[in-house]
């Protein structure tokens, strides 16, 4: 049973009716508290004490003072309970919202999670508004660049698991956000970049922020402990058959795929190749080239203008080794592009060599992902 509902008593079930105007004002209050949480993460807890001094809302002021003084959630509840004697519905709703925000603040939750908690008090009609607010904050965010690498095997494990992102996702989710963030706090940037997309746009920023926040709060030993816990969880999942550590095998693309794509590239009409490659992002081409033999690389680079060839070479240098699946996906995308370009090409279908190259590309474009 849902614990939060089982804890709810009579008054908690009363939907508090408040005007749209009041709810909008409370949404603004929630945003203000979330911003305060954001600032306190960046500048320290003294921000809360300063905010309490100028706060006009009694409950919020009292709550901020307690949080700034490092008091726990129970004490916070006691103080806020004293504020809740017979309030009107609007004030009661405000108190619920403030309580939700302050409790999250005490628990060290991310400001966006606080915003989710507080805006939930206003009902589902404020869900999208809260999301828009969060996305607005994300747009204004400055990128983080700091690294703190705690010696250990976790970065290798993350890279290994990321060969099949579902495995990395399972490990991260099974570990929970706190352990995941604390573990990633001691990893190089690459590990975070592999983990972030698995949480979507908002969740990715939250885990990145949480890791950065914990990096400044936890000792090296504490981070190492979190990493050990993460590894234990990942190994537990492996024992249950829920994930597999990739190893070198998964990095090797299907040899049959490499042969097919290489032969197709080598026998393609040079002009068709050039027109298909035109406008293709260097990173996409570099990824597809991981599924070709070196002679096909030479042919592609020779087909490109010098500046473009240089960009592709840079992209090859920067690209991490892709999983077999990702190589097949990139190669298939390239094959589809060439096939699309061939439809408009006058020579297509006329030469037997070109016909055979296009047939190979059709096979490459629909190459089964499971084969890799």
């Amino acid at each position: 049973m849902i614990a939060a509902l089982a804890r709810a008593r009579g008054r908690d079930w009363e939907a508090l009716k408040a005007s749209r105007q009041k709810k909008d004002a409370l949404f603004d209050l929630a945003a203000r508290i979330a911003l305060l949480a954001e600032r306190s993460r960046q500048q320290g807890i003294s921000v809360l004490a300063e905010a309490a001094e100028v706060e006009r809302r009694k409950a919020l002021r009292a709550g901020l003072e307690l949080v700034a003084a490092g008091r726990d959630a129970e004490e916070l509840d006691r103080v806020l309970d004293a504020e809740s004697a017979e309030p009107d519905p609007g004030s009661a709703l405000e108190l619920r919202l403030v309580r939700a925000g302050l409790r999250g603040l005490v628990a060290g939750e991310h400001p966006y999670t606080l915003m989710r908690r507080m805006s939930a008090q206003l009902g589902l009609e404020y869900f999208d508004k809260a999301e828009a607010w969060i996305l607005g904050r994300i747009k204004r965010r400055r990128p983080r660049a700091e690294d703190l690498v705690v010696p250990g095997e976790l970065p290798d494990v993350v890279r290994d698991l990321a060969l099949d992102p579902r495995f990395l996702e399972r490990a991260l989710r099974a570990a929970g956000r706190e352990i995941a963030a604390a573990s990633l706090a001691g990893c190089p940037r690459e590990s975070m970049e592999l983990a972030k997309p698995l949480y979507g746009r908002i969740g990715g920023i939250v885990i990145e922020d949480d890791a950065a926040f914990l990096r400044s709060r936890l000792s090296g030993d504490e981070i190492a402990q979190a990493q050990a816990a993460f590894l234990e969880i990942a190994r537990g999942l492996e024992e249950r058959g829920d994930l597999r550590f990739g190893g070198e095998e998964s990095l090797e693309a299907d040899p049959a795929f490499i042969v097919e794509l290489t032969k197709a590239i080598m026998t393609l009409d040079a002009e068709l190749l050039r027109s298909a490659l035109r406008g293709l992002a260097p990173a996409s081409l570099a990824a597809a080239m991981q599924g070709m033999e070196p002679k096909a690389h030479d042919r592609i680079l020779a087909a490109l203008p010098k500046k473009e060839a240089k960009r592709v070479l840079d992209a090859i240098d920067e690209a991490p080794p892709l999983s077999a699946r990702a190589v097949v996906e990139a190669g298939s995308r390239l094959a589809s592009l060439v096939l699309a370009a061939a439809e408009k090409h006058p020579a297509a279908g006329k030469s037997p060599l070109l016909r055979s190259a296009l047939q190979r590309l059709e096979r490459v474009a629909s190459w089964p992902r499971s084969k890799s």
Partner: protein, 150 residues
């Protein structure tokens, strides 16, 4: 420890035949779990346009963001408390919340199905679990049949 209270029990009360509506919802939640496992949690994005219940749509987005456990449960329960539901709509909403929390925690399918089927009551939950096994949604719990004597 089982947490329960009289107010919640009163609000959840609905006719036995109304509970039939829960089975398709449970199947749907089980399908979300299967998709998340097979294709990753971000694949749930595809389900959003078809999630006509705003609570389900909001919950799926929160799960995709990586919210789980108590934080997810609290937020979703707050939406419920803010809406004053009761009867079948509340029961359905509870199944949605329980299912989303199980989804976020990546519960084993069998565990998730048992948690959700419990909302049907003891009498109806077993037939549903058997049905899910027959349809391959759940692995069979029956012991393997002994080999026939020649």
């Amino acid at each position: 420890m089982i947490q329960w209270n009289a107010e919640l029990a009163r609000r959840l009360r609905c006719r036995e035949e109304e509970k039939r509506d829960l089975a398709p919802l449970i199947r749907r939640l089980m399908e979300f779990a299967r998709a998340a496992r097979a294709e990753g949690f971000q694949s749930l994005e595809r389900a959003l346009p078809e999630a006509e219940d705003p609570l389900l749509a909001a919950g799926l987005r929160l799960v995709m963001e990586g919210l789980a456990g108590e934080a997810l449960e609290d937020i979703l329960a707050t939406y419920l408390l803010a809406e004053d539901r009761s009867g079948l709509p509340l029961l359905k909403a509870c199944v949605v919340v329980e299912g989303l929390v199980a989804l976020a925690e990546a519960d084993e399918p069998a565990l998730m199905a048992r948690k959700l089927a419990a909302y049907l009551g003891a009498e109806r939950s077993l037939p549903l679990l058997e049905e899910l096994e027959r349809d391959g949604v759940l692995p069979s719990s029956a012991p393997p049949a002994p080999a026939e004597a020649r």
